[in-house]
């Protein structure tokens, strides 16, 4: 099975059109909680500029897969390769863990995550949220970061909320602040874990607008979503997960308009009926 984006008709893990290594490559990922197997051997590769959407019903393992990418979840099998650098492991099976936490932290600083529940730090103002990790983790200069922070907040449309606390913001504003926080890390790729699922349609639109703008900038993104319209609009590659396996993948328009597997047909008709 090869990835079928128009941009990169090459094999899954090969270098991209520009010859560069993939930003992030998940290879043969297996993840189980106790005896419950959630992911049963999945490959996902994102080259620079790729926007990949992961869809599937609840429990299909898509969020877990995304969390494996920055090692918030530890897969029992499989490799994670970041910019040609494989994560080093120690132990095996349920005792498996990364051998070098410094490596994990370095990878995480380059893979900013946006969460379903926003997860802004409640005790910090919006601006403080945006500059916290760049200051403490990357050791950036405060004055410079505050300037960048204000710019990013303006970019996502909440420049006037810099000194508010997250609890004073609407969900849509909080999620946009979380996206600004992710951007402040100047990451190689961004991971979105159902970024619009906690929002009502009106607030969802403002977040979708920001994500679309980021896609247009050519940012590398992996987006787990329930929002089929978002997937169709922004993704260059679509992956449909079912029961821990990739059931179908390809160009979003192709996959949506002409689903081959029965599962995907059922899934799409169920989501369309909503």
């Amino acid at each position: 099975m090869s990835k079928t984006t128009t941009k990169k008709p090459d094999a899954r893990h090969a270098n991209g059109a520009d010859g560069a290594a993939p930003v992030i490559s998940l290879r043969n990922i297996h993840k189980a909680y106790g005896n419950l197997e959630v992911i049963k051997g999945v490959d996902v590769t994102a080259h620079r500029g790729d926007v990949i959407a992961l869809i599937g019903s609840s429990g299909s393992g898509k969020s877990t897969l995304l969390r494996c990418a920055n090692l918030l979840e530890i897969p029992q099998q499989g490799d994670i390769v970041f910019n040609d650098e494989p994560v080093a492991w120690t132990g095996s099976g349920h005792t498996r863990k990364p051998a070098d936490m410094a490596q994990v932290r370095r990878i995480r600083t380059n893979l900013s995550m946006v969460f379903q529940q926003f997860n802004l730090w409640a005790h910090l103002t919006v601006l403080q949220n945006v500059i916290e990790a760049p200051l403490t983790v990357l050791g950036r200069d405060r004055g410079e970061m505050e300037e960048i922070g204000h710019e990013l907040l303006t970019k996502v449309g909440i420049g006037d909320k810099a000194d508010d606390y997250p609890s004073q913001l609407s969900g849509g504003q909080q999620q946009r602040a979380a996206i600004a926080r992710a951007l402040a890390m100047e990451p190689d790729a961004m991971l979105f874990d159902e970024p619009t699922s906690a929002l009502d349609p009106e607030l969802e639109a403002e977040v979708v607008r920001v994500i679309k703008a980021l896609a247009k900038e050519g940012r590398t993104m992996i987006i787990v979503t329930h929002d089929m319209k978002l997937a169709r609009d922004v993704a260059g590659h679509l992956i449909f997960l079912h029961q821990g396996l990739i059931e179908e993948q390809g160009q979003p328009n192709e996959v949506f308009d002409n689903p081959k597997s029965k599962r995907l047909q059922q899934f799409l008709s169920a989501t369309a009926a909503e």
């Binding site: 409640a122 916290e132 890390m185």
Partner: protein, 292 residues
């Protein structure tokens, strides 16, 4: 002082002015300082023991975890008064026994002789010829340690609970952005735990304030001691004879403690607002949320 030289000739305001400025009354006034000093000195030690106990209990290192659990459950399981009686005596004997072994010439006699605890004079704490204030200070120090150990165990329980109450996603997000465990602790976990710890700690503070008369039990001349001594009826044998005024003296203590706890409530309400900043919950509704 000439003014008060002949108390029996005084009447009205002059009598009161002289009565309330006797040396024993100054000892009474100073003993309020003793109580406040106990509280203020105990608080940092209690918090230190509280954090140590809480982190010991949460430790992944089993022996440390067991020490933390043993400390908190043992102290919390024993009546406070028993502990307050036990700890100063135990500490005193432990100090003296150590000094006995280190300092005293070997007499061949055991330290425990039947029911008696016997150490040589040089090992006594404080030394027999020490000034009165040294005796008082030593007793105060033992009491302080007893208070700190007892209240530290309760603080450990509160702090442990508060650390657990911080939402997991707040910490996970910090890790996801590349923070080290230490950075997660200092930048997110500790700043956010205060608002959960504060109700328990303010409770503990109130109990600590109200437990200070236990100093009296430990032989420290505190405000309760002096109120009793000054309030008791004085015959004409004394310079300022008066009937049994203990109800007034103890009544004054009552007002003192009420005042102290009232001020404490105000301070904790302020602290609560400060630490609740941003952390949406019922408690923080009192701040002006929703600016728009």
């Amino acid at each position: 002082m000439e003014f008060c030289a002949e108390p029996s000739t005084l009447t009205g305001p002059a009598w009161w002015a002289c009565y309330l400025t006797t040396p024993t009354h100054f000892s009474f006034y100073l003993s309020f300082g003793t109580v406040l000093a106990l509280i203020l000195l105990a608080v940092p030690v209690i918090l230190a023991l509280g954090f140590a106990g809480a982190f010991a209990r949460r430790s992944a290192f089993l022996p440390l975890k067991l020490v933390g659990q043993a400390y908190t459950s043992m102290v919390r399981g024993v009546p406070d008064i028993v502990f307050f009686m036990f700890v100063p005596i135990a500490l005193d004997q432990a100090f003296e026994a150590i000094r006995h072994v280190a300092i005293c010439p070997d007499t061949g006699q055991p330290i425990y002789q039947g029911n008696d605890f016997v150490v040589c004079d040089a090992a006594k704490l404080p030394l027999g010829d020490a000034a009165q204030w040294v005796h008082q200070g030593y007793g105060f120090l033992l009491a302080l340690i007893a208070f700190a150990i007892v209240f530290g165990a309760f603080a450990a329980n509160t702090i442990d609970g508060a650390l657990t109450a911080v939402p997991k996603n707040q910490l996970e997000t910090a890790s996801a952005y590349g923070m080290t465990p230490r950075q997660v602790l200092w930048r997110v976990h500790l700043p956010q735990m205060w608002r959960y710890a504060l109700p328990g700690l303010s409770n503990l503070w109130m109990i600590l304030v109200k437990a200070t008369p236990l100093l009296f039990l430990l032989g420290v001349e505190d405000i309760v001691y002096w109120a009793g001594a000054l309030g008791a009826s004085k015959t004409s044998f004394y310079d300022f004879p008066h009937p049994d005024w203990r109800i007034w003296y103890f009544g004054f203590l009552l007002i003192f403690y009420l005042g102290l706890t009232w001020v404490s409530e105000k301070v904790f309400a302020r602290l609560n607002l400060y630490f609740a900043k941003g952390q949406a919950s019922h408690g923080s509704r009192r701040e002006p949320v929703m600016a728009q």
